[in-house]
Symmetry: none
Subunit: 228 residues, 4 copies
DNA sequence: AATGAATGAGTGTTCATTCAT
DNA sequence: AATGAATGAACACTCATTCAT
């Protein structure tokens, strides 16, 4: 082999080699998202990743290992993003929540995460470890974060004292609903993300009941801080 | 031959024949729920239904037809139940909603319906007709029912005027969340249905914020006995 | 049971019962002709015979037995017909052959017999007994009949002495060709039975060569009687 | 890399790959010949070709495609051979025909072609396209070839003027008969190919009648009584 | 005698996985 | 490291056959 040949070959070659797993993981996510574990085809994943069938097995022992790697990758991408974005400064509870849920809607509706959620719903019964991971790394984390915010809100008297129990889940519920609804019924009845998120927060903060007393001082119309 | 004799005559044999399809549908629902469409095995369905492989094809043309029949059966079971249970009398909005959601939690968490929901999430992308059916027959129906209740509440001044837009979905969201959470994470972190439903309603009605006024501080938010 | 009931029931019943096998055999012949042994369906045969699937097994042990019965039936029908029709009077060789082949074309092209021939060609390799039967009962019989006619023709100096060896087969060949050609290519290129038979005989009798000696009286072209 | 190196490089592996389809076609021909289309088993074909079941589907989309490829292969092999062998020089009609039929017997009795013929008889009713192909590419071709020879013979006064109509088919008939007879009854009553071909030609050329005039009186055209 | 629901062995076909190159 | 031809276990589905009625 001449030096020229090496020069021609090597770069593209090396490059590709390092990126392979990512391309494969991305291809796998798409495929598993569209077809589920059983319905996914290794051949199709290979084609999506622009790789031969055999190459898949150079990096992953078998279909299940690839599947778990795909899920793991999606989960760690999520937590990495979450860690970066979800530190709240010292704002009012409402402000904090609005900021936080803005991020959550954005993150959860990314292709990667809605795919992850779908996979979890579909394959959950057969993959308890995966479920446990998701629960520990994503759901619990989110729940604890919300629990802290609520607790702080109670301290500051911005939140009712009794709003501790199942409230964190209730806060997350509409996010998950939005993701799934969009995933499944998005074509038939698209929801507006911003509007949905806003209504969500309004309801959380104030309920749907009539504001008990309009005469009272400082009565805040929902979402409209009385900025005097 | 008397009618009784006829009735006696065809017991095990005919009887079975009439029941077969139902047994198969039940077995199919289980299997599809656990494995999705692609992962489901006709052999396993047959075994679950205590029937031979060939018998399946006596009643359903092929795997897909069986799948659709399973889904159709679950949907019509749902709507039949819903029609029977969901007429509201002339009560306050809160009472009506509490009664309604009691029913909804009960119904949606039945094995049949949570399975149906899982199937929809899993197979949705490949079965647009099924998705459309579910949307029309179940989601839309529920949304309209809720919309009517909200509208009536507004008329009666029990509900804020601005609570119309996405509210129906927001009301349903926790139900769907509860179903999916229980389905996927039920083993790891079971939720108490009654407690969850109650919190859900509380939040809907009053939000999590401090009761805005009512005179002084320490104002008793609803559900919070003023324990001074 | 009253006498009337008996009267109503019995005749149709008895009738049918006796005819069943024939109806089944006819249905079987059609089905085996169209689909071959392996491709034939017992269900379809039952339907053709207007009988239930189970009934077939009342009369025939299994598919193969039915098949053999169908073939046997066709063969004995053939030999019965042949015996009735094929006795030749004391005519010239040519007259005898013309009469004989007229019958042969007519018989061999009947649905029953062309089906039988097709079955034999198709299934021969797997049914040596059937082949042997057909050979003994139909081919050999025909061959011997022709051999006798030829021999008599030689005696009478109407036929060349050297026309003994393979001649009988050569005489039959066009009949078989006609049957198979009609069966397979009949739609694309139908042959006229009478014309084909006539040409066949002409060729047998005179060959295609020019009449060797025109000097002789009345010895013109074959088939063209010297009509003085 | 020289051409030789390339040639050496891919020996067993590539080689095999190129030959696979042919081995499969050969195995398929045998199997379809023995069992017909419906009766043929893909598993058995694979075994015959010394290949796994799956490999069959690497080269042919399904059973029917393999079947059609087998038939196509046999037909094009036939026409290729025919084109190579069947040009006649400028000989007498009889010489030409003898040479031609020598070739035809040889070719038609090859395993490949008798199999093809059997397949056609068996599967014809269900495969009209195949029938049409065979008719156009083989039968018609042969018929036209013979028609040309006859026409030339008439020009040269070696053949009777009236020998045009169905004669070509009559010439082919014994070939087809020989093939089928050998295929079906070959074990019971083998025919000698050369002898059969010779008799065939003799009969064609001269008929079976007495040589019309060897000088002797009363020795007129066969079958034509001297009607004085 | 007749039925047809039920069976299960067998078929064509797919696809995750291996391995010679 | 990468390929893709080859494999064979597993699947959906069919159909001859049985048997309770």
């Amino acid at each position: 082999m001449t030096a020229e040949e090496i020069a021609e070959h090597a770069p593209a070659y090396r490059r590709r080699k390092d990126q392979r797993p990512d391309e494969i993981l991305a291809a796998g996510l798409e495929e598993f998202n569209e077809h589920g574990f059983a319905g996914a085809s290794m051949a199709r994943i290979a084609k999506r990743a622009d790789v031969s069938r055999g190459t898949l097995y150079l990096y992953f022992e078998n279909k299940e290992a690839l599947f778990l790697a795909v899920a793991e990758n999606a989960m760690s991408a999520f937590t990495r993003d979450a860690a970066a974005k979800m530190d709240m400064g010292d704002h009012s509870t409402e402000e904090t929540l609005r900021a936080l849920f803005g991020q959550m809607y954005a993150m959860m509706t990314s292709t990667k995460n809605s795919a992850l959620l779908r996979i979890l719903v579909s394959e959950g019964p057969n993959m308890p470890d995966l479920v446990a991971q998701y629960h520990a790394r994503i759901l619990s984390t989110g729940k604890q974060l919300l629990a802290r915010i609520i607790a702080r809100g109670v301290e500051r008297s911005e939140v009712r004292e009794d709003a501790a129990g199942t409230v964190p889940q209730l806060l997350i519920a509409p996010v998950m609903f939005y993701v799934i609804h969009t995933m499944v019924f998005g074509d038939l009845e698209p929801l507006d993300e911003n509007q949905f998120a806003q209504s969500h927060l309004d309801m959380i903060m104030r309920g749907i009941g009539q504001p008990p007393c309009q005469g009272g001082p400082g009565s805040q119309g929902p979402g409209q801080p009385a900025d005097t």
